[in-house]
């Protein structure tokens, strides 16, 4: 790769944030009633990090089928998260969402 640009950095930072978020929160006990609290915590955790300009976090409640104890665990398939980063004048938008059964992280623009 030739000289590293602000565009590269904005893209790299977006990737870091999505990868970090996923592996920090997967496995958290969750239910439809507590989903908003977990969303808030995820959003606050991403927002603190450098180069972040916007974050949207939605967890898919339709997948939160309770086990016999009334809850489930946060899985990758529940994530619908968009992050926007900026380095210099370069902006990047990326998201994680289900794609053919796999929680895919992808660049949007």
């Amino acid at each position: 790769m030739s000289n590293i640009t602000d565009r590269d950095k904005a893209v790299f930072e977006a990737g870091i944030k999505l990868g970090a978020m996923y592996h920090q929160f997967v496995g958290t006990p969750i239910s439809r009633k507590t989903a908003d609290k977990v969303e808030d915590a995820i959003k606050s955790a991403i927002s603190l990090q450098p180069y972040i300009t916007n974050v949207e976090v939605h967890l898919d409640r339709t997948l939160m089928n309770p086990n016999e104890y009334g809850y489930t665990e946060l899985t990758g398939s529940m994530f619908n998260v968009t992050v926007e980063t900026q380095v210099g004048n370069e902006k990047c938008k990326a998201k994680i969402e289900m794609d053919n059964g796999y929680p895919l992280m992808k660049l949007i623009e």
Copy 2:
């Protein structure tokens, strides 16, 4: 160990909850401004689990010294968490708190 009692089960469940909580949330990006949201998420996650009757979560803000980007990570030393469990008529109360520089989990009563 002889026959397993309700007391044993209440104690075992309290241990599970503290161990799980610790390793689920350690590493979460946090600051004094977002600490309440992370506390809420932790409390909601523990409360969902079986045999829990009460949960108190306090994260020590005095230890949240911001790095050059204005935040830090949740560490074991910040946890001040108490859980209460009940199995049959047997109740257990346990907590994690700093003890001589080590985040110690211990039975209270």
Copy 3:
């Protein structure tokens, strides 16, 4: 709960270890070819902790169905882990294994 006994402590420590292990490692990218390395790391991580006298870790390879990229993630249902603890003369054995579709942690003896 009345006076805390060594038996209580042995049981509590076993619970901590299983809860911690679960939430530390759930989500780890894994395949049948790398499962032994993850087993070794889990075993080494549990073995270091206080009051542990024995650890057995088996990850169920039959559940490691590869996604389109050739791997999967470690889930709770793959865990078959036994821990033994001792405090004073009191010993405790506990395990996590699938029980009716739920990864149940239970006391054995």
Copy 4:
């Protein structure tokens, strides 16, 4: 951001891998004697993921100062990890290492 290129994708994937690795493994109980097993597990976990062409993992043993129980926890400052990704003909190399007291993830080439 204009049209997404293979270069963007290679950079994005490198970011994802480093962010994911960090938050998956931070907090793992570790000592100088078990560090090699954790390194192996981290390397195997990253290597499985799409677009990865090379991975180097070194955990800084000089920072693994044992607590009173003889171990410590894996922290961000111990990571010295390099990942290489390739999408189409575009390659990216990135790493995480300590930089002025902060575990910095950065693009190398």
